[in-house]
């Protein structure tokens, strides 16, 4: 089955927009991180689409690296969330004003 590359790129753009919206609009730090995951997934979709379109496997290898970086980001991000939660329960970014003067 041939998937036109335009459709893949449009899907990727829409997913990235949704992720950006979620990151900026949600007030829960975990859901903001999830929105970052959605954006990374959108980029992966477009990489796989280009890889298919150009007949080049480098896109898929790059997508693998993106997945590895996403895993690292999740580990560090959620570690930060847990550390913050220990000081001040709750996951709302509006409450994190300690570094604000």
């Amino acid at each position: 089955m041939i998937v036109p590359v335009n459709v893949v790129l449009a899907l990727s753009a829409v997913l990235f927009g949704i992720g950006a919206f979620g990151f900026l609009a949600r007030r829960n730090i975990i859901l903001m991180l999830i929105s970052v995951e959605v954006m990374l997934n959108a980029v992966n979709v477009s990489l796989a689409g280009f890889s298919r379109h150009l007949g080049d496997l480098r896109g898929q290898v790059l997508a693998l690296f993106v997945i590895a970086v996403a895993a690292a980001e999740v580990g560090v991000g959620l570690g930060l969330v847990i550390a913050l939660n220990r000081n001040k329960p709750g996951a709302a970014v509006g409450d994190l004003t300690k570094l604000k003067w």
Binding site: I18, A68, L78, G79
Partner: protein
């Protein structure tokens, strides 16, 4: 499948209950894995299911369940600047679209060794990963190691 993934992404960023949101993201990841399959990236689809849907999402769910959910639900889920955020999201999507149209969809010509795929996507990816990409591969492993240590240090309970 594309429509389903867009719908689940939208639901994921708009649900009030974080756990529902997580489950919609799980649906999104599985649909994206299906799209990878359609694009002939079998290994990527497998990694997507195992790493994203299996590992990353479970991690998120654990952390969500450590928190006080009922208290979260009564809060407004969006800040009061959400129209601005929606505009930015729309702007990014339009920008990506315009960039593609402006560049003229990449020429469909030059099919460089298109169908190495029949002999197994996994073998080709492995060859690429340990051939020209061996240095980035090692750097990725270093990043993961740093992330492991960083996560342990951050989440550790302070001694006394």
């Amino acid at each position: 499948m594309a429509a389903a993934s867009v719908a689940s992404a939208l639901l994921a960023v708009t649900r009030r209950n974080p756990v529902h949101s997580m489950l919609w993201v799980l649906a999104l990841f599985l649909h994206v894995a299906g799209i990878f399959l359609l694009l002939g990236a079998e290994f990527l689809a497998a990694v997507q299911v195992i790493v994203y849907a299996g590992a990353i999402l479970m991690f998120y769910l654990f952390v969500v369940m450590l928190f006080d959910l009922p208290a979260e639900e009564v809060r407004p889920r969006f800040g009061n600047h959400w129209p601005f955020a929606a505009a930015v999201g729309l702007g990014f999507a339009c920008l990506a679209w315009i960039a593609r149209v402006g560049a003229g969809a990449p020429s469909a010509g030059t099919p460089v060794a298109v169908e190495r795929v029949p002999q197994g996507n996994l073998r080709a990816i492995g060859t690429a990963l340990f051939g020209p990409f061996v240095l980035p591969f090692e750097i990725a492993s270093l990043i993961l190691l740093a992330a492991i240590i960083g996560a342990v240090v951050l989440a550790r309970r302070r001694a006394a």
